[in-house]
């Protein structure tokens, strides 16, 4: 057998080293699986974005608009004026390299252009080569380069391999945030019509119909009703929420993915149960039916346009304040931009928890409170009837979403809630949690199906953290407070750590809530037999009918 095998020398002599070239001379090669589909013209037309056309990143000719170079040059100049942070980030990097190995896409892909410092350099070199005198004259020597179509292609390739997670900024001594550079680069790409459909489609749908999938009001409502039926079946409680009700005290807004995608719908059921449990005076809007904001991944203007509906709807319905569901980038937009973009929300009141009386001073500017803060406050004031043993078959760990952790500092509240609704909570290592958290690898609009393989690269460091806590402490459930995370961590886990499932924190809350008038909680919100369910002791018959054994099955 050995004699027929090619000799080891032959294999040994094949050169597996990639060619050594300077980074400016290495071009990305577009191959199915490593690029995102181009935006369809109708999605750009629908919201008035530039250069709608049918194109494909595999094409040689990207059909850039006439004078596209001028557009990019002016676009950069305008943004340098408007955003001082951008100007600063373009000028002050000393190339110390502290950020270089902190990006999950670099760690997972091994592609050096995913080092944040090099990613920024893709744009910075053009800034130098096209807008700075020294760079214009000295070119490459001064780290400058000219705009070419290849540069645009390279931007498209690498700025859609940045999830705007800000992990690199934590390690930069100057606080340079490459996420902001990516945001600018994507704005520039948008000026040329080089957008991706996974972002442009939701933006267009959201603008016209209020949510990413373009669900019409009646469809949205029917979906919720479907989930109410499930709650009735599994929990034994009939809930009747209201839609677009004027005069409600609170408007609740959450990402629409939770209304139709798995496992987000189970988190959604958790919200419905929680609000019923405390008798909250709130309403859903079928117009502001999307917490997510893919405008944030398009341009500042588009983010503002899509965000505006939250306040419009709050005003129209005459609510006192807004409660927001589990979402990542929705909260980054709310926390960092909403007040300046669409505020002041002087028609709303300072949020006060009607059940506990707690004043949410932290939300005094935006008048919008995070569901996890709200739930934590209810638990702290002992307002929830909880049976954490319903989650006893789970050993839960927590993924800090980039947006809620680094973007708004929501670190303790989810952990507090989970520790109260579950008996087994274990954290991952400090190198990969809280401010140091690793991105899911699919944020900022990269969660498209065609990109799954790239997402497995980007999500590798996150999965690695989970793997450790799974092997060392037996974690079998990865909880999070973000709708995109719920959707993308599920396949990520299935590839890297298949024994770990994924859920929202509010799903765990829902399963632990003891509802008034509930039936036997034999099933969890997913409609699965709950391994932790303990049937009530049978009064007469000595034989237990083997039901106790159900506790064994499915416990992993």
């Amino acid at each position: 057998m050995a004699a027929k095998t090619p000799s080891p020398e032959v294999v040994g002599q094949v050169d597996h080293h990639p060619p050594r070239k300077g980074w400016m001379d290495t071009k990305p090669e577009f191959k199915p699986g490593n690029y995102l589909y181009a935006a369809q013209p109708q999605n750009l037309e629908g919201v008035g974005l530039a250069n709608p056309r049918t194109w494909n990143p595999l094409d040689d000719d990207w059909q850039l608009p006439a004078d596209w170079k001028g557009t990019v040059r002016e676009g950069i100049a305008e943004r340098l004026q408007r955003y001082r942070s951008f100007k600063l980030f373009m000028d002050i990097c000393v190339r110390c390299g502290a950020c270089a190995d902190k990006c999950h896409f670099f760690i997972g892909s091994g592609d050096p252009k995913n080092m944040p410092v090099l990613r920024a350099e893709l744009l910075r070199s053009v800034y130098r080569g096209e807008l700075k005198t020294a760079g214009k004259i000295l070119g490459k020597m001064a780290g400058g380069r000219k705009l070419t179509e290849d540069v645009i292609k390279e931007w498209f390739y690498y700025f859609f391999q940045c999830t705007e997670c800000r992990r690199c900024s934590v390690f930069c001594p100057y606080g340079i945030d490459t996420a902001e550079i990516t945001i600018m680069a994507r704005e520039l790409l948008n000026l040329l019509g080089c957008n991706i459909d996974w972002i442009a489609g939701p933006v267009n749908n959201c603008f016209h119909n209020g949510n990413h999938l373009g669900l019409q009001p009646h469809t949205f409502k029917e979906n919720v009703e479907y989930l109410l039926d499930d709650i009735e079946e599994y929990v034994g409680v009939k809930i009747e929420p209201t839609f677009n009700r004027k005069g409600a005290e609170i408007l609740f807004i959450t990402p629409s993915g939770d209304v139709f995608a798995e496992p987000g719908i189970f988190t959604f059921m958790g919200y419905l149960m929680l609000f019923e449990h405390i008798g909250l005076d709130y309403t859903w809007s079928t117009y502001a039916s999307e917490g997510g904001n893919f405008g944030f991944f398009t341009s500042h203007e588009m983010m503002k346009r899509l965000n505006a509906k939250m306040y419009h709807e709050a005003k129209r319905l005459g609510v006192k304040w807004i409660l927001g569901g589990e979402c990542g980038h929705m909260w980054r937009v709310v926390h960092q931009y909403m007040d300046t973009m669409n505020g002041p929300a002087d028609f709303l009141e300072m949020p006060i928890n009607p059940v506990t009386g707690t004043v949410f001073n932290n939300a005094s500017a935006t008048k919008m409170v995070h569901i996890t803060e709200f739930t934590a406050d209810l638990i702290k004031n002992d307002k929830l009837n909880l049976d954490p043993s319903q989650n006893d078959h789970l050993t839960v760990t927590f993924h800090d979403s980039c947006n809620t952790s680094r973007g708004m500092g929501l670190l303790e509240e989810p952990r507090y809630v989970m520790n109260k609704v579950c008996n087994n909570f274990v954290d991952m290592a400090p190198q990969v949690t809280r401010e140091n958290t690793f991105c899911c690898g699919s944020g900022s609009g990269l969660n498209a199906g065609e990109y799954l393989e790239m997402r497995m690269r980007g999500g590798l460091p996150r999965a690695n953290g989970v793997k450790r806590v799974h092997e060392d402490k037996g974690a079998n459930m990865l909880a999070c407070v973000c709708a995109i995370d719920r959707a993308v961590l599920t396949p990520l886990m299935e590839y890297w750590v298949p024994d770990v499932d994924c859920c929202g924190v509010s799903e765990l809350v829902g399963n632990a809530l003891v509802m008034e008038g509930q039936g036997e909680r034999e099933y969890n919100l997913r409609g699965e037999e709950n391994p932790s369910y303990v049937p009530p002791p049978e009064p007469e018959e000595p034989e237990g009918e083997g039901e106790a054994e159900a506790g064994e099955e499915g416990a992993e």
Binding site: A261, E262, E494, R526, E529
Partner: protein, 179 residues
Amino acid sequence: MKLFTILAKHKKAVLKKWLDSIVESYPQETARFLRNKKDQFANPVGYTIEVETEHLFDLLMEGMDREKVTPYLDRIIRIRAIQDFTPSQALYFVFALKYIIRHQVAEEIDSDALEQELVDLEASIDMMALVAFEVYMACREKIYDLRAKEIQQNAYLLLRRAELIVEKPGKDRIEDNAN
């Protein structure tokens, strides 16, 4: 076996060369990082390669075992299967081990008996390679499978409402109703 005694002496050198040969399949800057950063969280790829190549080497000395070799190979190949490598680039590292070992011990192979031992060892590495193909294919198939599943999950409730999905209780609840 005599060869194993010789190889035990060379373990460190063989592992270093093997690690280098894998790490150098990445661009220069990446190779430096993979080699030098010693932290399982900051450098999961480098860490995995280092740990698992040692497991593989030890197993080779112990005697090749299909069951045992699979998880070690899996941890390396699962990474390379989704990185920017062709199948041959992803898997050549198994074959490289033959070359590395032969070179390392060449001067000490001074009898026919030893030469035969080396050929047998190479046959074990060939077996490792065969398992590697299977692991690689399984990883790729998983990717395709996940893509299909994701489409369903992303519109789960809409499909269910349209009665395109039926449910049964238990873990694998979703079933395609199409056929």
